[in-house]
């Protein structure tokens, strides 16, 4: 079973490589390098902070694009083109197929994030080496800060969550609609915390109750965003990262489970 899932996952990764998805890394590198060049000219002493902000934000955005646009086609494309027929009659369950698809995109995203993190560290290291006075100016956090990895880790887990949601929609909905819904849930997820405070502003108990239920049901994405905290050198406990990652992974697993049951019951007309 694991072997079959692994093969399917590897195949998804291979396909995304062949579809030139990883070229986004080139764009990322260009962005980062040109930014590091220009930022010295344009700002007064905020160079390191801006590079870090840019690197983390771009990783998040590029990753989001990949998660959504590949995610919504993961199942749909195969069903549309009927290449799924060949795969589903092999000795594997439909659930293995879904798991393989998810892990394949997870692998693509992992490679993407790993390369971006490496690129960011490389640029920061170069800046620290070539301009030692910058290091003195960064009192909040070291220039080459290992805590950036915590931010990257949470970015990655958040992307896995988005992938799971995109995959779920992909099992029954066309790419356009799935992308809209996934992005919609992503945006709502960032404002999720406000739903919890609804009861203080809203008079109707029913509405407040509904808001609370939605707060629990919908993904809570704001805690994954520790970019600002890390850049400012604020301590982020390992426990925080672990618990938030745990939330993300369990939620993603729940959504993948739903994708599995939808797919398992489908007729392929």
């Amino acid at each position: 079973m694991a072997r079959v899932i692994g093969l399917i996952a590897y195949h998804v990764f291979k396909e995304s490589v062949r579809d030139r998805v990883l070229y986004n890394l080139v764009l990322f590198a260009i962005l980062l390098i040109s930014a590091s060049y220009l930022v010295g000219q344009l700002t007064a002493g905020q160079d390191i902070k801006i590079i870090k902000d840019l690197g983390l934000a771009a990783s998040s955005v590029f990753g989001l694009f990949i998660a959504v646009f590949i995610g919504v086609g993961l199942v749909w494309k195969e069903v549309e083109r009927r290449s799924v027929y060949n795969l589903l009659v092999k000795p594997l369950r439909r659930q293995h197929f879904i798991a393989g698809k998810f892990l394949g995109l997870a692998l693509t995203l992992a490679v993407n994030i790993a390369v971006m993190a490496t690129a960011l560290y490389a640029v920061l290291a170069f800046m620290a080496w070539s301009q030692p006075e910058l290091a003195k100016a960064s009192v909040e956090a070291p220039v080459v800060d290992p805590n950036l990895m915590k931010a990257f880790a949470l970015i990655y887990v958040q992307l896995l969550l988005v992938t799971a949601i995109a995959l779920f929609f992909s099992t029954f909905s066309s790419p356009m609609l799935s992308a809209a819904m996934t992005v919609g849930l992503y945006v709502v997820g960032h404002f999720n915390a406000d739903l919890a405070h609804f009861e203080t502003v809203v008079k109707s108990g029913a509405v407040a109750g509904l808001a609370r239920a939605l707060y629990y049901l919908l993904p809570n994405l704001a805690p994954f965003d520790i970019k600002a905290a890390v850049v400012h050198g604020q301590p982020i406990a390992a426990g925080y990262v672990l618990l938030t990652s745990g939330y993300g992974l369990l939620y993603a697993a729940a959504v993948v489970g739903l994708a599995m049951i939808v797919f398992a019951r489908r007729d392929f007309k």
Binding site: R3, R82, N86, L88, V89, K90, P91, L92, D267, K269
Partner: protein, 322 residues
């Protein structure tokens, strides 16, 4: 144990979104295929052949009825290790090559290492994919994709092979090759279940056939039983004769038709004695061009079944046992 068995297999679809109407794609199909048979599943377009195959592959779930393949339910994993499937107009992954695709699928069956590579190479040779095997599949013609489809259906040395329109998209050379392949599979002990609307293939290959029209199984059985392979008449072609020469034979002669250059086709009744009539004509100066017995073809039978179904009356020939 039968290789493939279905009992009262029925599939309804719901057509439409707001007020779905049920559409019965398959109605009470009961089939029985023995091991090592070549079974031809025939029918006009839209009859439900592909639906039946999808039900057998559990790509689609039945509304009613039972399916048993090698004594197991269609979704069983052990069963899937032992069968192969070629879908209609197969489509794979654009960016992979034929070789990579087969290596991938072989891997899903648990094949590994050099054995896997050898198997894949041999299969590609067998279906006639040569140097193109390294090219991405998006560059393949329909015929080549069909061959790749066949290859992937055989990658696990299956006991039963399910082929949906295996000849589609192939040129005459390709079709001949596929026919040879099917017979080779039979000789190896495989069971072959294929669907087609090309009847001459069925006539050449099948031991038993089933005829599906409008979702219903009109007839199923040995080909020889269905057709009875009886002579229904004779076709005598002679030159240097005139129609009047044959008038003497009365009702033995059904028709005399002129072709060209003084040649005539003389259609004789089944009970006629063609040698005597020919000798008599030769005695008057005629020359023999050809003499052929006329038998019912599968096509005749097929058309008769389809027309009967459309007219709503039971077909003239009863369902033979099989």
């Amino acid at each position: 144990m039968a290789a493939i068995e279905t009992e009262n297999l029925t599939k309804d679809y719901r057509i439409g979104f707001w007020r779905p109407q049920p559409y019965r794609a398959l109605d009470g199909v009961t089939l029985h295929v023995e091991a090592n048979e070549v079974f031809g599943f025939l029918g006009p377009n839209g009859a439900g052949k592909t639906t039946t195959l999808k039900l057998l592959m559990q790509l689609v779930f039945p509304t009613a009825g039972r399916i048993s393949i090698l004594g197991r339910p269609p979704g069983d994993l052990d069963l899937r290790r032992r069968i192969g499937y070629l879908p209609e107009s197969p489509y794979f992954y654009d960016s992979l090559s034929a070789e990579e695709l087969l290596m991938y699928f072989a891997g899903l069956f648990g094949l590994r290492g050099p054995g896997r590579q050898a198997k894949v190479s041999a299969l590609l040779d067998q279906v006639g994919i040569g140097g193109e095997r390294r090219l991405p599949l998006r560059k393949y013609s329909k015929g080549m994709l069909q061959r790749v489809g066949l290859a992937q259906a055989l990658v696990n040395d299956p006991e039963i092979v399910f082929l949906d329109e295996p000849m589609s998209g192939l040129d005459p050379l390709g079709r001949r090759a596929v026919r040879a392949l099917i017979l080779e599979l039979r000789d190896r002990g495989c069971t072959v279940f294929f669907s087609s609307h090309i009847l001459s293939d069925a006539e050449a290959l099948c031991s038993r056939v089933g005829i599906l029209v409008g979702g219903q199984l009109m007839a199923a059985g040995r080909l020889s039983d269905i057709l009875a392979f009886q002579v229904t008449g004779w076709e005598l072609v002679m030159s240097g004769v005139t129609p009047s020469m044959f008038a003497v034979h009365g009702e033995q002669v059904r028709h005399v038709t002129a072709i060209a250059d003084g040649r005539f086709t003389i259609e004789l009744a089944a009970h006629a004695e063609p040698d005597r009539i020919m000798a008599a004509a030769r005695a008057q100066g005629g020359q023999l061009v050809s003499l052929n017995p006329l038998r019912t073809t599968l096509e005749d039978y097929f058309v008769e079944q389809v027309r009967a179904r459309q007219a709503g009356v039971p077909a003239r020939r009863a369902m033979p046992e099989g």
